[in-house]
């Protein structure tokens, strides 16, 4: 029992994080929103091996477990990466047929739990407009791929991981703002009314990440727990962040909205709160699984 990333896994996650933070800057996001041309990250995703994180070694991949992908997805969430990178590397690739892995993969798994997909992953489809200005979506085709059940698990875990990355980003942005913004002759971050709200979000993030990692390794009810906990954490984070930013947070000019809207979008993707809560009703309230101490890791 060692419920930590190994050194090698942590190095991989840190390298991905450094890349996301370095490339997908706020500047790049603003330019994208303004419709300006920005750098194409796909060649770098490929060069850095990020697309093959979960691909088998025989296909040139790193064959890492889902929990490592969750660590990378958290970093992608934090950086606000809008390309469907997590989707490809964490959901499509691990379910792809062997022959498919020799070339570039640009498709999405079909699942009822994910009605809208990135336009670049579909051959066609009716365009829909997301509140998140960085998401270009089309309606997905109806139906489910044969591996949809497994894709749903990957999807729930990886959206949960992105949600806590986004939550942490919103906390960090709020801390920066609260240190800088002065009222009554002091930084507003010195007031307990502000401090305590941010401490609450920090606490929820810290107590959501481990259940996401457990879900990634063990599956089962922990998957639904992880997604619901991540949704509740992300909604608390976004509501707290906008409150701390005050009127500035309500503007399109301050960058907070980009992360807030991404969080709202991902809350509903790969099973919304109702879907996962209903699975938990079946497991906790209507099932006969033994609950209580000693079951979590067994």
């Amino acid at each position: 029992m060692d419920f930590r990333f190994t050194e090698g896994q942590q190095d991989l996650i840190d390298a991905a994080k450094a890349f996301f933070d370095g490339e997908n800057t706020i500047e790049r996001m603003r330019k994208t929103v303004a419709g300006e041309q920005v750098s194409n990250l796909w060649p770098q995703f490929a060069q850095l091996g990020l697309l093959g994180i979960m691909a088998p070694e025989s296909a040139g991949g790193l064959e890492q477990p889902l929990v490592v992908m969750a660590g990378i997805a958290e970093a992608a969430g934090y950086a606000g990466v809008s390309e469907p990178y997590v989707e490809i590397a964490g959901i499509t690739v691990p379910h792809a047929k062997k022959g498919e892995l020799s070339g570039p993969i640009q498709r999405a798994m079909l699942s009822d739990l994910r009605p809208y997909i990135d336009a670049s992953l579909a051959e066609s489809g009716e365009v829909v407009n997301s509140i998140d200005p960085l998401r270009n979506l089309v309606k997905a085709k109806d139906g489910n791929d044969e591996n949809a059940e497994s894709a749903n698990v990957h999807g729930a875990i990886l959206t949960a991981a992105q949600l806590i990355g986004l939550s942490q980003r919103m906390v960090d942005m709020s801390v920066v703002y609260a240190k800088d913004r002065h009222q009554f002759g002091k930084p507003i971050g010195s007031f307990q009314a502000v401090k305590h709200q941010l401490a609450n979000v920090y606490t929820q993030i810290e107590f959501t990440r481990p259940i996401i990692h457990l879900a990634a390794i063990k599956g089962g009810a922990a998957v639904h727990n992880a997604k619901v906990a991540a949704i509740d954490t992300a909604m608390l984070a976004s509501e707290t962040a906008i409150q701390v930013h005050g009127g500035m947070g309500y503007t399109y000019e301050v960058d907070l909205h980009l992360f807030m809207k991404r969080a709202w979008a991902l809350c509903g993707e790969w099973g919304d709160r109702n879907y996962h809560m209903k699975r938990l009703e079946d497991y906790v309230l209507n099932g006969d699984a033994e609950l209580g101490p000693g079951q979590t890791f067994n």
């Binding site: 029992m1 060692d2 419920f3 930590r4 990333f5 190994t6 896994q9 477990p65 929990v67 906390v171 801390v175 609260a178 240190k179 002091k186 930084p187 971050g189 010195s190 307990q192 502000v194 401090k195 305590h196 941010l198 401490a199 609450n200 920090y202 606490t203 810290e206 107590f207 959501t208 990440r209 481990p210 259940i211 990692h213 457990l214 390794i217 063990k218 009810a221 922990a222 727990n225 619901v228 906990a229 809560m277 938990l280 009703e281 906790v284 309230l285 033994e290 609950l291 209580g292 101490p293 000693g294 079951q295 979590t296 890791f297 067994n298």
Partner: protein, 385 residues
């Protein structure tokens, strides 16, 4: 990442199960905040100690089994699954013992740990004062050095278990004229010392769970100084880390309560409004999240990390989780929630007790407001002023 138990750990779990099955009391003991209950719980500590089950993670020479913290978590899981008695020795074994292991001399370890493990000496905490609660650095109780003794004068309060316990670990001002965090020391003091008066305080449930302690020139041998003289704040913060962090509240206790809550829900679901089920699920989810986070923390501690300000997040999470869980039970019990007999013969009155006790969680070990300040300032880096 590896989340499997070793075959030795699985074997250990089976041994714990077997022993508890044979030895754990079949009916609940009276509260350890009564004279009778206290002695029955002390007997239970002796029973645990006799077969070396009291402190499995302690070194063998002090009455433990020398096992790691994963084994301790396994023990706790089986312990609460068996519904075994609460630990009357918890202030000693979970708070003072790790502090002694870190700061104590070899002589202090040999003197204090074995009788603590055996239940022969049960410990109370003596930190808070009437004027030093959340602001603990305002401590005024003083200890003046007189040859090979300290002479302690002052008043302590909210001292849990002190009414019936044998010893207390106190935080006192040893340096004359010192202020705030400086000049404090930690002293180990027998509660039957001459000049020490205990005044029981009835808690919310009516039992004297804590006491006020009056020190009137109490002579304490200088060898009972734990850690550096005038350096007691650092020693106390280490203890507070254990209290807020890992040891005092292992996940198993809450997970057992969540499993009981689900049973309670199932018995009464026909008369419950539709939102109650979701609260029950959230209560269960929280205990699982807490368990996963604890295994994460233990894995880090095993690898050499020390627990610092993040123990404040731990304390916030478990205390508010516990209150929510018990509030949900009170909702299910409805009109009968007020009855001390309780709704269910199997659970007789335990939800009401549990709810009252859960209200103390956000207050003791540093109020949750203090924990939020610590997180905001030391983890998030928000300005103090």
């Amino acid at each position: 990442m590896d989340i499997g138990y070793t075959s030795a750990q699985k074997q250990f779990r089976a041994e714990v199960q077997e022993w508890l099955g044979a030895h754990a009391p079949k009916t609940r003991l009276p509260s350890f905040d009564t004279a009778e209950g206290f002695e029955l719980h002390r007997e239970w500590e002796r029973t645990l100690a006799k077969d070396k089950w009291g402190n499995v993670n302690w070194p063998v020479e002090y009455g433990g089994r020398g096992l790691d913290l994963i084994s301790w978590l396994i023990f706790e899981e089986e312990y609460y699954r068996a519904d075994a008695p609460l630990r009357v020795s918890q202030n000693g074994i979970f708070l003072l013992a790790p502090t002694i292991m870190e700061y104590g001399t070899e002589a202090q370890k040999a003197r204090f740990l074995p009788p603590m493990a055996s239940g022969d000496e049960i410990w109370a905490q003596a930190w808070s004062e009437p004027g030093a609660g959340s602001d603990m650095a305002a401590i005024r109780t003083k200890a003046v050095r007189d040859g090979d003794h300290y002479i302690v004068t002052g008043q302590k309060t909210w001292s849990s278990r002190a009414v019936f316990a044998d010893w207390c670990f106190a935080l006192v001002r040893t340096e004359e004229g010192s202020e705030r965090h400086r000049g404090l020391s930690k002293l180990l003091i027998p509660l039957d010392s001459e000049g020490l008066t205990r005044r029981p305080i009835a808690q919310l449930d009516g039992d004297p769970g804590f006491a006020e302690l009056f020190f009137d020139e109490v002579r304490v041998p200088a060898e009972n100084l734990l850690g550096p003289e005038h350096g007691g704040w650092g020693v106390a913060m280490a203890t507070a880390g254990f209290e807020r962090g890992l040891l005092l509240r292992s996940p198993a206790r809450f997970q057992a309560a969540a499993a009981r809550l689900v049973k309670l829900y199932k018995q009464h679901k026909d008369r419950l409004s539709s939102g109650v089920g979701e609260q029950v699920i959230l209560a269960w989810m929280n205990t699982e999240r807490f368990c996963a986070a604890t295994y994460k923390l233990v894995s880090r501690v095993k690898a050499g990390a020390s627990i610092s300000s993040e123990s404040s997040a731990n304390k916030l999470f478990w205390s508010e989780m516990d209150r929510h869980l018990h509030r949900t039970a009170m909702t299910i019990m409805g009109a009968q929630a007020e009855l001390e007999e309780g709704l269910d013969t199997i659970q007789n009155g335990r939800w009401l007790d549990g709810y009252m006790f859960s209200l103390a969680g956000p207050i003791y070990a540093g109020t949750n407001e203090i924990q939020r300040n610590i997180l905001a300032e030391r983890v998030l880096g928000l300005p103090r002023k």
